[in-house]
Amino acid sequence: MKATTRKNRPDRLKVFTRRAIIVASIKGTLIAVLASRMYYLQVIESNRFKKLADENRISIRLLAPVRGRIVDRFGEIMATNRADYRAYIIPEQTADVAATLDALAKIIPIDDGDRTRILATSRRQRSFFAVPVAENLSWDEFARINIASPDLPGVQPDVGTTRYYPYRDLTAHLLGYVGAPNEEEAGNDPLLHLPSFKIGKNGLERTFDAPLRGVAGNMKVEVNAYGRVIRELDQEQATPGAELKLTIDLGLQKFAAERISAESASVIVMDVHNGDVLAFASMPAYDPNDFNVGIRQDTWKMLLNDIRKPLVDKIVQGQYPPGSTFKMVVAMAALESGAVNASHEVYCPGKRRLGNHVFHCWKREGHGTQNMIGGIRNSCDVYFYDLAERTGVDAIAAMARRFGLGEAFDIGIPHTASGLVPSMAWKQKRFGVSWQKGETLIVGIGQGYILTTPLQLAVMTARIANGGYAVMPRLVRPKKESKPSRIEVSDYALSVVRQGMVEVTTSARGTAYGARITEEGYSMAGKTGTAQVRRITKEERAIRVIKNEDKPWIERDHALFVGYGPIDNPRYAIAVVVEHGGSGSKAAGPIARDVLLEAMRRNSARDPDAPTPPSSGIEV
């Protein structure tokens, strides 16, 4: 027994020692594995993990660029950015978001919709992210929030920038407005997903959005695992948007828009030589500042339901029969066709019979015998029935196109209409029936199918005034000026219609003599137009043509006027359309005269680089 024990002991120690060495070796091996793994992670792969760690902690926040200003040809500001007083709520800084909102509602109005949105947003996102409560606060409201801040836990007053149009509705249709991008517009551009970022939604703001927008900067911040910003690491400033310089003369623009007064009308003034649009006024309009922060529902409804259509840019979207303002085109087409010359005489008994149809002149008692200049001066319909019949619709249409009718000019305003210049082929294609001779007569006085926009009428007038050059209208000067090409029309035809237009305003018998310029040193030639909105029936005519003033507003004729000045050395062309204004001579002529006179007085078209615009007569 004792022997066994004695023999056993060293044996047991031997086994243990051997096994302990094995265990130690295994442990040593495993420790070597750990050490190699450390070496692998911290030395070999270290750079990759350092990069990943930085990607974790560094978050790049975009800095919105300041939108470029829009200025007129003399550098006067038309659209800029101003401080926008806002308030946010940071949910984690208040015990009860709803209670804080209640307290805030005593200072600024918070409607139920806002309230629901704020509460929902504060629940949805992490509690340290700010929830916008109100934008566009007045200085007074903003100051009161700041004063009350001890009682408003979690409310964060903030100053940002917002687009500002100092002339409000006077420049609305020209500039358009900005607004938050919708999902489709935003796409994958992270800049467009910034909460208060706005893009151009209409007008020039929309067309020139890219250069106006600028380039976003960025700020590198360190964030923790929950996205909370710990500190700022680096900042790259945003590049502000470029300034957009227009051809507009702001003074003339304001004058024109205000001159329109309460009418539903549009006025456009152009430089006849280079196409610079100097005034572009469509009234009534809206206040584009309302759109920046999202327009109120009731304001929107009011704008939408207004029969004077304040949301429509009438200069490029309004399509009207040109009425008698089309007669110059008909005259030129007739002269160019070789069928007649300026001394061609037509007797006007007040009406013209064609088959079973009777075509009336606007003057029931008739104009008697007139030549072409007289026809233009008197705006005699019978004379132009005759010219149209002799010339044919297709020759008239070709001449109309040469003068810019039927063309959708790209001047940077979205949704520009092309109008309509009818021809025989057009009618066949459109309605599948052939052209009627009577329709040619109707086109001859600018009625029927033909539709034009005020912009087209201004271009037409400019091309007549500048001696037949195909000047193109523009709101922004191109980098490289190109000389307009000569229109296929004779100087003779141009001089005849110009002489007619001169007599319209200078001859005592002219239709716009009442709207002539009487000021010394200034002159204007022009042509009135009255476009029927509603066809005058035979029965009505048999009794008595109802005077415009006696009709409901919506049924009254559109009043048109196109003109240019000065007569001797034309510089400015103007087109005025007063919707349902009655007669062109009474409603449109005086507006055109005042605006054109103002343009000449201001010398609106002078070189934009000249120092200061004259200050006289800016106000109406």
Binding site: R12, R19, L30, Q42, F49, L52, E222, N224
Partner: protein, 382 residues
């Protein structure tokens, strides 16, 4: 001669015993624990609260208990081994049953300063019981298959109970510790080969028993990119933090992954990642070296212990300590699945800290009483 030494060791007074304690081991323990305090200080962004200070208190309590355990005669520990095991097992069973019948799912006993988990104490009790068992067997007896019955039961029963909790980490630790002691005691190598084969065969079965989140962890371990924001997030972020530390680290309190909360559980299971991020390869290698010194010294000292119980106890506990360290480090570096094992003496938590200190108390006791000869038959026969 041997008897004389034994008698002298019996007669040492308290002061002599304190002097004879292995202060090298104690110093290593204090250094490692201090590394832990430093990292916990960093976890709270440069404050003692809420992690470092309580951990220091616990360490102080555990340290005193460790010294007391070390001073108690090894014979007494051997005599009490089965009782301690039995008591711990009953406690483990009790908290299991209480957990099952819903009388509060507490799996720990509250000792005031420290909450004690029976499953933690079981790691020590198992080594004590196995060491005692094999102390009584000859080499030939230990090699018999028949002799395996009790050690297997001693190991398997608590492992099964812990696995049900479910605490995969502790179950793995218990099983690995038991197996190591059996190996050291001289169980045939063929048994381990068979055992490993058996485990391999049982994996499909065990898979079915795992909870969903455990399956997730294993799957995530096998392919961390599988779900980078979900279950794979922890491993991925841990590796990023670990690797981004580089050679010299980002500096204490400056680990971006840890301080910005990308790193999960950084005061407990992932504290080593934080150390690696802030102190770099120099830091992680240094801590690994400290652990290696501690384990290596225990292994070396075991060879000089004159009783089999003390040898097995020392190596067994050293193995437990090694498994803690290995599993935790391997886990945070993405070498093994995340099983929830703390880094010994460093991770925040009272139960593991106390268990480890008590374990070192036992090691110190065995080393202090290395010359005590204990007869194969029992503690009191010599």
């Amino acid at each position: 001669m041997k008897t004389v030494i034994a008698i002298r060791s019996q007669q040492r007074n308290l002061f002599a015993k304190l002097r004879d304690l292995n202060w090298f081991v104690i110093a290593l323990i204090i250094i490692i624990a201090s590394v832990g305090f430093t990292m916990l200080y960093s976890v709270s962004g440069g404050h003692l609260e809420p992690w470092a200070a309580p951990q220091m208190t616990r360490f102080a309590v555990g340290f005193v208990l460790m010294i007391i355990v070390a001073l108690i005669n090894l014979r007494w520990w051997m005599a009490s081994a089965y009782w301690i095991y039995g008591g711990t097992f009953l406690m483990l069973l009790a908290v299991e049953i209480m957990g099952d019948i819903g009388m509060g799912a507490q799996r720990w006993l509250d000792l005031g300063v420290i909450r004690l988990q029976p499953s933690e104490i079981m790691k020590l009790a198992l080594v004590l019981a196995l060491a005692r068992y094999y102390h009584g067997l000859t080499t030939r007896e230990a090699a018999r298959v028949r002799s395996l019955t009790l050690p297997l039961l001693l190991t398997a029963l608590p492992a099964a109970l812990v696995l049900r909790q479910p605490d995969l980490g502790t179950a793995v630790l218990i099983t690995a510790t038991g197996a190591t002691v059996m190996f050291l005691a001289g169980v045939r190598t063929s048994v381990f080969v068979a055992g490993i084969a058996g485990v391999a065969a049982a994996i499909p079965m065990a898979w079915g028993m795992l909870r969903d989140y455990q399956k997730d962890r294993v799957l995530t371990f096998l392919d961390p990119e599988r779900d980078p924001l979900g279950a794979g997030y922890h491993i991925l972020q841990s590796k990023i933090a670990f690797g981004s530390g580089g050679v010299t680290g980002k500096g204490l309190l400056l680990g971006t992954q840890a301080q910005l909360n990308f790193l999960p559980e950084k005061q407990t299971d992932f504290i080593f990642t934080m150390l690696a991020e802030e102190l770099g390869l120099l830091g992680s290698f240094s801590l690994l070296l400290l652990y290696t010194l501690l384990i290596g010294y225990a292994m070396y000292a075991s060879l000089g212990i004159k009783n089999h119980f003390g040898r097995l106890l020392t190596t067994g506990l050293a193995a437990t300590f090694f498994f803690y360290m290995f599993i935790n480090m391997a886990m945070v570096m993405g070498l093994v699945p995340v099983v929830g094992v703390p880094l010994p003496l460093v991770s925040y938590g009272g139960s593991a800290m106390l268990t480890l200190l008590l374990g070192f108390g036992l090691i110190l006791s065995a080393v202090l009483h290395r010359n005590t000869i204990i007869a194969r038959g029992g503690a009191f026969t010599a």
